[in-house]
Amino acid sequence: MDNLKIEGTKQTPEIDFNSSTGILSISGRSIPENTFEFFNPVLLWLDEFSSIAPEKVIAKINLEYFNTSSSKYILEILKRLRIILKDGKDILVEWYYEEDDEEMMETGEDYEDVSGLPFEIISIDDE
C-alpha cells in the first residue's frame, strides 16, 4: 500500500505515514476551520493500514498547536491504532512537547488516559 505524505501548511500538520516501517508522524500545527476535509483521508488511510500493519507501529505526534476541532480527530487516529493493538501488534505513541509547554504535556496525558494506548511523553528542548 502507498505511504501517506502530506506537506504541512500554516494551518495543517505535516503527515508522514509509512506503511512498511510502521512509523506514523504528525508534526506542526493543526488549526484548520474545516477539520473533516483534512483528516478524513488520514483516517481512511489508517483503516486500510490496520489490516497490513507491521509487527511494531510507532506514532510520533509532535504538534505545536492544535484547535479543539482537531482534537477529536487526533483521538480518532488513536482509536484506529487501538484496533491494531487489539490485533496483537506492538504500538507505541510518542507524544512530544516543548519543554515549557505544560499544557501540551497534560494533553498528552489526557490522550494516554482516554485512548488506553501505551504512551511515551517526551520533552524536547526549546532550542
Binding site: 500554516k10 476551520e33 477539520t35 484547535n67 479543539t68 482534537s71 477529536k72 483521538l75 509547554d101 488516559d113
Partner: protein, 180 residues
Amino acid sequence: MNTYEKFRKMMDNHIMLSFKGEITSDIINMVLQIMETRLDAVSEKSSVRKKIFNVLVECMQNLYHHAEAEVEGQIDTRRAMLELFYNNEFYFILTGNYIKNNDIQRLKERIDRVNSLSKEDLRKYYREILDNNSISNKGGADLGMIDMARKSGQKLDYHFTEVNDNLSFFDLKVKIAKKK
C-alpha cells in the same frame, strides 16, 4: 474625539489589535500571522504566547462557525468583533458576535458550568467530552469553552446585550496572566 485622541486612547488601553467585520478564513489567517509577529516582539514567555495564540484560534473559530447574521439570511452581515489588549497583569482577548435569543440559555449554561469547575474537574470534563463519540465539523463548542478555560486558568467573562426580539450581542472576554 479627534483622531489624535482616538490614537491616544488606543495607546493608553494597550490595544494590540482591533477588528470588526465578517470573520472569514482569510481574516483568521491574517490575524494569526499579525499576532504571531506581535507576540514574538514582546518579551513574553513562550508558554504565555502559546496560550494567547491557542485561545485566539478558538475564539476566532467560534466567531467563524457560530456568529449569527445581523440581517437574517444575509451571510455578509455576520459581523463580529475581536480585540486584543493588555494591562499590567493580563492579556485580554475580547470577542463579540450576534446570537439568536433562543440560543442564549444553552450557551449560558455551558459557560457557567465550565466556570464552576476546578482545574482538576475541568480536566476530567475535558476528557469526558473528548471521548464522547460525536464529531462535528464545528468542533463542539463545549470542548472549545473548556479548552479556553483551561488555557486561561481564569473564569470566562461574558455578557449578553439584547438587540431586538430575535437577536442579542454576545461578548466573551478571556484573560491570560502575564508571567511574573
